[in-house]
Amino acid sequence: MQLLSELQEQNVIDGFLSSPDEESFRALFRVITPRVFRYLRLHGCDHGLAEDLTQEVMMAVYTQNHALRDRALFRPWLFRIVRNVWLQHLRHESRQVRLTDVQTLADILTGGAGGNSIGNGPDFSRWLAALPHGDRELIVLRYIEGLEHHEIASMLNRPIGTVQWKIFQLKRKLAAHFRQADQPQDKSS
């Protein structure tokens, strides 16, 4: 099922890159926008801001697609644009002393403030929200967006071995975090 949707996504991407017109862009927009929106939400943007930045990203995709040299690297290229747009926004925000904090993101993820609830998984969300930005980005790209290691390496311009090692260490951190979280419950029961 996942393979099928990945194939469909690749077809839509190929269609747009082969002939970037309004029709192919419509199809691409429907496939890609949820990913962009989700990435931005997971980086602390509220619903409205995530929509605005998503629109900015998609505009860049439409107008700059000729700059993409290797079609196979569309996803890293896309997420590099998303990341740049988000960082640009952060720089602008920091000038106005309105940085997104960890609590805001945790609220977004757990449905505390203006976001969708993630049901039974607030602990995972809080763990994700408390991670430093670079670490959270790796988890989001690898597990939530399903990018391959080589795609993440290409997007972040890092060696693939470093990306693999870092993700592995994060998984260990997650294990340690939940083991600690479980301990008091064990004592009480």
């Binding site: 926008t33 998503t54 998984g121 995972f124 693999q164 997650l174």
Partner: protein
């Protein structure tokens, strides 16, 4: 979690869990894990966290979605903006935009002189005004002029910005 005392390294775990090992290496690693109690425990634990990560990621994916209506609204707004941007502009308006772009870093005098020189070089007695046909020539001339006066970066900017403008015939 501490590294296994038997020497099974992080790189082996990464290869095994991420599926980047070849078949022979996987068999070798699994034989070791079967025999080694510490690695066996680590393997079970890492696998269970991988499963949890996949499950929670799926849950997050499903919860942070955009409604169909929101997607349509964004898409239609963007397409409307793109259509507006690609409508041909009168040459005077396009020239004004080029002026506005150049003035902040070239200065008013240099911008005016460069544009004026490029216009003279791009028009002729038969075609004394700028239009959609001679606009690409104008952009090229302006870029050449700016390269010698303000440097290659300014020339490149003028070329890119100029070629993005659609000018009516």
């Amino acid at each position: 979690m501490t590294p296994s005392p038997c020497g099974f390294a992080d790189v082996d775990w990464i290869g095994l869990l991420e599926g980047t090992l070849d078949t022979a290496s996987v068999h070798r690693a699994m034989r070791h894990i079967d025999r080694c109690g510490s690695c066996s425990a680590q393997y079970r634990e890492l696998q269970s966290w991988s499963t949890l990560l996949a499950r929670e990621s799926e849950r997050l994916r499903a919860s942070l979605t955009m409604s169909e209506a929101d997607t349509d609204r964004l898409l239609n707004g963007m397409l409307a903006q793109l259509r507006r941007d690609s409508e041909p502009r009168p040459p005077r308006q396009a020239l004004l935009m080029v002026h506005l772009l150049l003035e902040p870093f070239c200065g008013m005098g240099t911008a005016r002189a460069s544009v004026s020189l490029a216009v003279r070089r791009s028009t002729s007695l038969r075609e004394p005004d700028l239009n959609g046909r001679n606009w690409p020539v104008f952009v090229s001339n302006l870029s050449d002029t700016l390269a010698s006066v303000c440097g290659i970066a300014a020339a490149r900017l003028a070329r890119r910005a100029g070629s993005l403008l659609v000018v009516s015939a």
